[in-house]
Amino acid sequence: MEVKLLTRNFDRPESWTLDAYEKAGGYRAWKTAFALEPEALIQLVKDSGLRGRGGAGFPTGLKWSFVPKESSSPKYLCVNADESEPGTFKDRYLLEKDPHAVIEGILICCWAVGIHHAYIYVRGEFGLPLFRLRDAVREAYAKGYLGHDVDGHGFDLEVTVHRGGGAYICGEETGLIESLEGKKGQPRIKPPFPAVKGAFGGPTVVNNVETITTLPWIVEHGAAEYRKFGTEKSPGTKLFSVSGHVVRPGVYEIPLGLPCKELVYDLCGGISGGRTMKANIPGGSSVPVLTGAEAEAVNLDYESLAAAGTMLGSGGMIVLDDETCMVWTLAVLEKFYAHESCGQCTPCREGTGWLRDLVYRLEAGGGKSCDLETILSITRNMMGTTICVLADAAAMPAASFVQKFRGEFEAHVGAGHCPMRRRPAHFLTAAH
């Protein structure tokens, strides 16, 4: 069952233009929002139960309320469009197909928190999403939706589109801020949290594109209406980007709490080639993997996935069929994290590289049986000991892969080579 809140305009012709957006009823919610006091607006978002869609699932209204009302330094909004979690491609759709919804969401957020300058930090690799967003911002300025005295409401708002340099770590909120300030993208030590001291030293809200884009709908239809979707603790809808061995991969908007089975087998048309689901990484590459059986039993909401030992994350679901080599898959993931670790904290800087080396060696058939215990011990030592959660993001898949597919790892050690059928030939030569 798909619902269309965020994706409501996706099918309209030239949905990314201001014309199309206005025809579809766009830039109305924002007028409603302006009629409300900022406090009431924050309360509305709190009531809706909207949780951050970037991965951590932190209640959005609560996050806003941490920003001091009076501040001697300017407050900022940073819209996190640095979508870089492997397996996640939902924000790119929002930017490509409905950039004006993002801008309207920005207007609502900035009015609620009292912000006059918003930055949209766009992933460096994005082409089309960036161009459409830039055009949309230009259109909005021309129409008076942005800039000085927005639409005659006496409210100023500047929006700056900032293209990132292409680092995974700049999707972390403080890494994003550092990068935005022109520094090397690496997370900052917390506290102080961005809500107190963020971009350019000012109180800063960092919200994901999807979170921001949800705001117009909530304002227009009310919190109660939003809560009709999803579950008690995970209200609303969520975009899932499904990739891997399914018949119809793509972005699906579903109400939270939908059984994973329904998403994989009904919406996505099941596993391609008539094979079976061996594993499912439900929330982007950083979350613990589920076995096929576990995935078929789980519902897609924050609580159910946590109970199953994994996380909703960014909703980047990677489906793996029974021919996939799990050691190879993990090697690919660990190579990514070793490459993307900013190198600041010792456990992550060294641990990610160590994991990569060990998993590569296992995949190549040179592993030892004690390597599995070493991997598990490295992951324990990495988790929770660093400034940001990149160490956890690298450790959680490693730990869950080894725990849940131990037999496959042991088979690699025993055979002295990869016993699986599907394995690209170039793989072994590309260790670093």
């Binding site: 506290p191 190198g343 600041q344 904290c345 010792t346 060294e350 590289g353 030592n381 000991t385 660093t386």
Partner: protein
Amino acid sequence: MAEVTIQIDGREVTVDAGMNLIEAARRLGIMIPHFCYHPGLGVDGNCRMCLVEIEGQPKPAIACNTFARDLKTKDGVRPVHTVSPKVKEWQRAVLEFLFLNHPLDCPICDQSGECFLQDYYMANGQYVSRLDTPKLHKRKVVDIGPRVKLDAERCVLCGRCVRFCDAVTGTGELSIVNRGNRSEITSFPGLPLANDYSLNTVDICPVGALTGSEFRFRKRVWLLSSTQSICTGCARGCNIYLEHAEGLAYRYRPRENMEVNTYWMCDAGRQTFQPLNEERLEVPEERGKEIPIFEALTRAAQWVNEATGFTGGATEGGRFAGGSVTGGNSAGGNSAGGLSGCAAGGERDGSRVLVILSPVSSQETLFAAKRFAAEILGGAGVAGIGTRPPGVEDKILRKADPYPNTAGLALLGLARDPEPELAKGGRLLVIVEDDPLGERQRPAWMQHLAGWERVIYLGVNRNATSAAAHLALPVTPHSECDGTYVNFQERLQRFRKAITPRGDALWAPELFRRIAVAADPGIHAGRPFGWLSFNALWKDLAASEPAFAGTEVAKLGGVGQTLVTRAAGSAIDGVGDAAGGPAPREA
């Protein structure tokens, strides 16, 4: 700021609410291992070595970014554990990560013996290694600046050096480039680490990544002894450790003194230990010929007597109550000395004698010279302002005044330009530790010296002046005796004897005393030269010099103190900086 009583490892300590746990634990004598935190550079939180366990918190917390106030909850203050099994395990894990790509070249690493990695491994590592993946290789022996070498493989990427160049010197030469385990410290292209404080990065580097080009491979650090001393490079008087072995000084290292130099010292100051080792005047020389010390003392005494017209009498001591008058060699002299003066044979005439002092001398030397001039040279002129050209002043530590004791000289009332008197010529010129010929290179001075019948030089090194003098007597530098300097803030700071005096070198006050005794055995046990020790001299100094009245030198401690009597105003005229000069920049 409000104070909080917190509990670390079961022991309570009351600290400022804003103090972090590393500092709070230090108060209890508990050392929480860390690499990146430095009190002068603040919190960075990247090394993850200082992980501690806070009761009621599931995750480990870094002690550097956890402040005493953070421990307060509704139900009281959360206890902290720094040596619990969990903490030991966390620390062991971080160490293992750090060693993953570390070259383990301790046998050829200069940091060996003062390396945090070694210390922490010995305290809390000692595991069986399971590191069997190939190590990453990075750049080694890189001249990252003229005085500093980088070994990127040894680096733990704590970023202290980067933050030092950003926050303290503001020059920002260094940065960490690349990501993940390929991260490396480097300097910007065309901008080597060449600032005037670059060697501080070597001090604060917790491992062997940054080493001083000059000290490299010169001495194993565990063979060095460390003595509290004062840098003599400028009027700042940075507190230092003088590190030495087998009678040689090897390096200066800054010693924390928040009032003077905080944690740092300049590169130029570090170079000033060279004269302690090289070109030393070890044996007295008469016109370039080495002579035994007793002969030299006799000669000096003879010249002093001749120049002052002293023919005996030996009753100087008589002028001082309590002096025992031996009158042993008072050939035809008058042994019944009175308080107001002596008979003709005992009188000294200092009108054709001059003593040139220099602010390079310790307070004790200056005082002894002043006393010697008054008592033995018959009230000869005593003056000096130093002849070195002024140095470069900056806003961090360095002062333009190139002398360590300009204020001390001024406080004795002797800071006058001796040149007019010098130009007149005379019978005996005594130059104490100044090197006017070498340092100023003024032909005029050479001519001035020619106008003097005899020149006695007291100094540490052989130099142009010692070569020009008729008699050169070796004295101890600040590494070889106890002493004090007064810095530009009029802070009296103490240095300690580190090394046994080289050759015949004598503590300058002792040298003056011996010449005095040789010149007039009558004063042998008398008061004017009754100092046989540093403390005895200071008792005399504090009693005789109003500027130092009440100073108890034994109570100076490691960081010195501002002279009580000089609280208001400055006696330093036109030299150096008044006490209210710019304070050392806080990091």
